[in-house]
């Protein structure tokens, strides 16, 4: 099964995407490239008589491990393009030299090796693998179980945040609010009874006095509220529709028009 087509396909499918690890800027792109690499490797496994391993590779690596990487990338929300300029002096040089040296060294020693391939067609299908796994390697399997427990516990210890304060019921929340002196009923919305129903205009109570609380505090802090008293005066002076004394910073007429509710005639 090992033929040139397979090899070159796998080689291209693995080497090129894996270069993203060095040159790509966005972690998500890198993760997706590695997914490709894993698929390529799976193909190689299948091609070399390890179909079971190929499947496991797809399931575990592309399906679980790389997805977990992506998941964490999303979780930490740092998919910013990374600045690839090197900050440690000489590190880039050392890294390329070391990696190049490593590759050359390994290729040289592999080329130097005298290997006599054996003939025979051993295919690692699930059955065969299971036979070996649960006879010769059963102890390793058992130890793997402990390893997985450790990993799970470790992940929980480092990431799981339990509830630190007791959950409060609605009743408790309401009681607390009243105890803090809040109004038991809803506050009037801004603009109620006022000449304008804009968000920046305080509501007027039935007597026509402005209720300053009804405007969002944010606007108050920014000094973007309108003076309620002025609008009260307008209320009284309805005969004068073209009241020009608009306070500074108030929305223009055009915006008023847009903001008025349907069916209400703008003045």
């Amino acid at each position: 099964m090992v033929n040139e087509v397979l090899f070159w396909t796998v080689a291209l499918l693995t080497v090129i995407p894996s270069l993203a690890l060095i040159f790509a800027k966005r972690p998500v792109h890198i993760a997706m490239s590695i997914v490709l690499v894993m698929v390529g490797l799976a193909a190689a496994y299948v091609g070399m008589g390890a179909p079971f391993l190929g499947m496991v590779q797809i399931v575990v690596y592309t399906g679980a491990v790389m997805m977990m990487f992506l998941f964490v990338l999303m979780l930490v929300g740092v998919d910013n393009a990374e600045d690839l300029r090197e900050t440690i002096k000489g590190q880039k040089w050392i890294a390329f030299a070391a990696a190049g040296g490593l590759a050359i060294l390994l290729i040289a020693v592999i080329g130097d090796a005298t290997i006599e391939p054996r003939t025979g067609d051993v295919v690692g299908n699930p059955e065969e693998i299971a036979m070996v796994l649960f006879s010769e390697y059963v102890l390793v399997m058992e130890v793997l179980g402990f390893l997985l427990i450790t990993a799970a516990v470790g992940a929980l210890v480092l990431t799981h945040v339990p509830r630190l304060t007791p959950r409060r019921t609605q009743v408790e929340l309401q009681a607390a609010r009243v105890a803090a002196g809040a109004d038991p009923v809803n506050k009037p919305m801004p603009g109620v009874y006022a000449r304008h129903n804009a968000l920046d205009v305080p509501a007027l109570d039935p007597e026509g006095n402005p209720i300053e609380d009804s405007v969002s505090r944010v606007l108050e802090v920014r000094h973007q509220t309108q003076d309620g008293a002025e609008f009260r005066a307008q209320l009284e002076d309805t005969d004068n529709p073209d009241h020009e004394a608009r306070p500074h910073g108030a929305p223009s007429r055009d915006s008023d028009t847009r903001n008025t509710r349907e069916g209400e005639e703008p003045k």
Binding site: I88, I94, A98, A99, G101, L102, L105, D112
Partner: protein
């Protein structure tokens, strides 16, 4: 008693541990525990000696195996003690002088708040020193070797609240480490050559080993001996070590520890016997040091430093003797024993003087103490006569033999070595007399507030006992060559050789030189007025005063790299350790800084280091393997 000799080590050790752990409760009486422990060790040793004397000369070596230390088929090391005439000599010297110094210290350290700790260290020292001399293998000897180093370090730096004292302690530490490297190298070579570190095994095989191997081992051992015994070129620490309390100087830096180097060489006699070149180097080092020490001694005004220089010089004599081979070994040890007595006595005398003079050490501030400190004067005087080599005092019997032995041989050697020993005797006479006269005779040059007085009985009695030893021990041991015969099973029997000059001539010359030296000293320092301020002095004096600029030389040659370390050790306080380490980086530390820079904190650089490492190693191996 011989099988119980381990008690001599165990008792002081236990006492040291007890004193360190006992806490303040024991402050009032702890020092007596130390004294008792030391005396007990002496009694054990004396018992063993008596038992040994009752045995045949041939059967006097006993090995006491304590336990199997490092088991193994190829290399098994057992913790065993070797009791033979050589080691028992040391045991007696260490415990006897040690006990006297313990007694003396009770009074000398009376006002020190940490007296209990001081005695713990003294006991520790005694235990370690006994381990050193009783060990039956180089490994165990090494334990003792390190132990005395540690105790000495602790005791020199005992008053470590003064910076210079701590510096001195550290200097001793650094130089001793250099010596230790020598011992470790020697042990490695011995192990490689003989497959064992036991004295018995090694010495049995030594005659068959090649001369080159033995020479290598011998030189490495000499390096070790030089470090411990303050021999050229590692002598610089001894003078500074005088910063420690005076009893320490008497015990460690005169009588016992500094002679460990001589012990090591005599103990290793079978190795040196097969390595004439190494022997010659030992003798030459000894000759150089004896002259160097004497020269330094002539210029020092600090009484303790002058005595230290003298110690260095006297150990030079012992090394010279040890380097002469079988004819010299016994004399080296003989001189070591007599020197132990008279030098310890003089140090204690110096301590007594310092005690009287408010811890002044400058001899130009002494003078005319004979009148006020009669006992000190007499005891010191006996020591002085002994070191001069005036018959019939101890030093004469031992030193004269060394000078005679130095003149034995062929070619240039007897003339050079013997000449050095002879000249050294004259110089010794000069500087020791100078010291003696400046201190006890002439006019009083005390500062106004001085009221010298004789020390208490606790201090004078040990001095008196040592003075008796200085006077008569040599005569006693030399009569009928008792001591030499006693040591013969260890040092081997030496054929009698005639020196190149006849013996009476040598004796005559020696005594004449001694007389000249003494008279010169009397003229300059006894009869004449001694200026309170040191005169500028000739180039020679300045050189000698500065210990031959040994420190500068050391610094330039091999201490420079270690210097920063020393400094860091000394000023290891918060600010320095935290801040200035970076600034003061020199030598090693700069290399350390460089290696620190590799650790950038960047995981990617780390990965690069690893990968490059793998590639380079693989490349070398693959290319080399093809």
């Amino acid at each position: 008693m011989q099988s119980l000799i381990w008690l001599a080590i165990a008792i002081p050790l236990a006492s040291a541990a007890f004193l360190l752990l006992a806490g303040k409760r024991a402050d009032a009486w702890g020092h007596w525990v130390g004294v008792v422990a030391s005396s007990a060790a002496f009694l054990v040793g004396a018992g063993a000696l008596l038992e040994m004397l009752g045995q045949d000369a041939a059967n006097r070596a006993t090995t006491v195996t304590l336990w199997e230390f490092i088991p193994g088929s190829d290399l098994s090391v057992s913790a065993g003690l070797l009791l033979d005439p050589l080691s028992i000599t040391f045991v007696m010297l260490i415990t006897f002088v040690g006990t006297l110094i313990h007694l003396y210290s009770v009074a000398y350290m009376e006002h020190d708040v940490a007296r209990r700790r001081f005695f713990a260290y003294l006991n520790l020292f005694i235990a370690a020193m006994l381990l050193l001399v009783l060990a039956d293998s180089y490994l165990l000897l090494f334990f003792g070797w390190e132990g005395v180093g540690l105790a000495s370090y602790l005791l020199i730096g005992f008053w470590n609240f003064k910076d210079e004292y701590a510096t001195a302690a550290n200097k001793a530490f650094v130089v001793n480490r250099i010596g230790d490297i020598g011992l470790i190298i020697a042990m490695g070579m011995i192990f490689a050559a003989f497959g064992s570190l036991d004295f018995a095994t090694v010495f049995a095989q030594a005659p068959e080993a090649s001369t080159a191997t033995l020479t290598g081992i011998g030189l490495a051992l000499l390096l070790a001996a030089c470090g411990k015994s303050a021999q050229f070129p590692l002598q610089s620490w001894l003078g500074d070590a005088m910063a420690g309390p005076t009893p320490v100087s008497a015990l460690i830096h005169a009588a016992t520890m500094v002679t460990a180097g001589v012990y090591l060489i005599v103990r290793s006699a079978p190795i040196y016997n097969g390595a004439p070149d190494a022997q010659l180097v030992v003798a030459v080092v000894g000759a150089i040091t004896l002259l160097l020490g004497a020269f330094i001694g002539m210029a020092k005004d600090d009484i303790k430093k002058a005595l230290a220089a003298s110690t260095m010089s006297q150990i030079g004599y012992m090394m010279l003797a040890a380097g002469l081979g079988p004819i010299g070994y016994a004399f080296a040890i003989f001189h070591l024993v007599t020197h132990g007595f008279f030098k310890a006595g003089m140090f204690l005398g110096a301590g007594s003087v310092m005690h009287a003079m408010n811890d002044t050490v400058n001899m130009r501030r002494f003078g005319a103490l004979r009148g006020v400190m009669v006992i000190t004067w007499v005891t010191f005087g006996l020591g002085w006569l002994a070191i001069l080599g005036v018959p019939p005092f101890s030093g004469y019997w031992s030193k004269d033999k060394i000078i005679e032995a130095a003149f034995v041989g062929e070619g240039w050697q007897p003339w050079v070595l013997g000449g050095a020993a002879l000249v050294g005797a004259g110089m010794t006479a000069f500087y020791m007399s100078r010291l003696f006269f400046m201190t006890f005779h002439g006019k009083a040059r005390w500062e106004d507030d001085m009221h010298p007085h004789e020390s208490s009985a606790l201090m004078t009695v040990p001095m008196m006992i040592l003075a008796v030893g200085s006077a008569f021990l040599g005569l006693f041991l030399a009569t009928g060559d008792k001591f030499t015969h006693f040591l013969e099973p260890v040092t081997g029997h030496a054929e009698h050789h005639d020196p190149v000059i006849s013996i009476p001539v040598i004796i005559g010359l020696t005594l004449a030189l001694v007389a000249v030296g003494t008279v010169l000293a009397w003229m300059r320092y006894g009869r004449a007025d001694v200026p309170v301020e040191a005169p500028a002095g000739s180039l020679g004096t300045i050189t000698a005063r500065n210990d031959f600029f040994q420190d500068s030389v050391n610094r330039a040659v091999f201490q420079r790299p270690g210097q920063h370390l020393t400094r860091t050790l000394v000023y290891a306080d918060a600010t320095i350790v935290d801040g200035a380490v970076n600034k003061q980086a020199r030598g090693w530390a700069r290399l350390g800084e460089a290696s620190r820079k590799l650790q950038t904190g960047q995981a990617r650089s780390y990965a690069a280091t690893m990968l490059v490492g793998v590639i380079v190693i693989a490349l070398i191996i693959v290319v080399g393997g093809l």
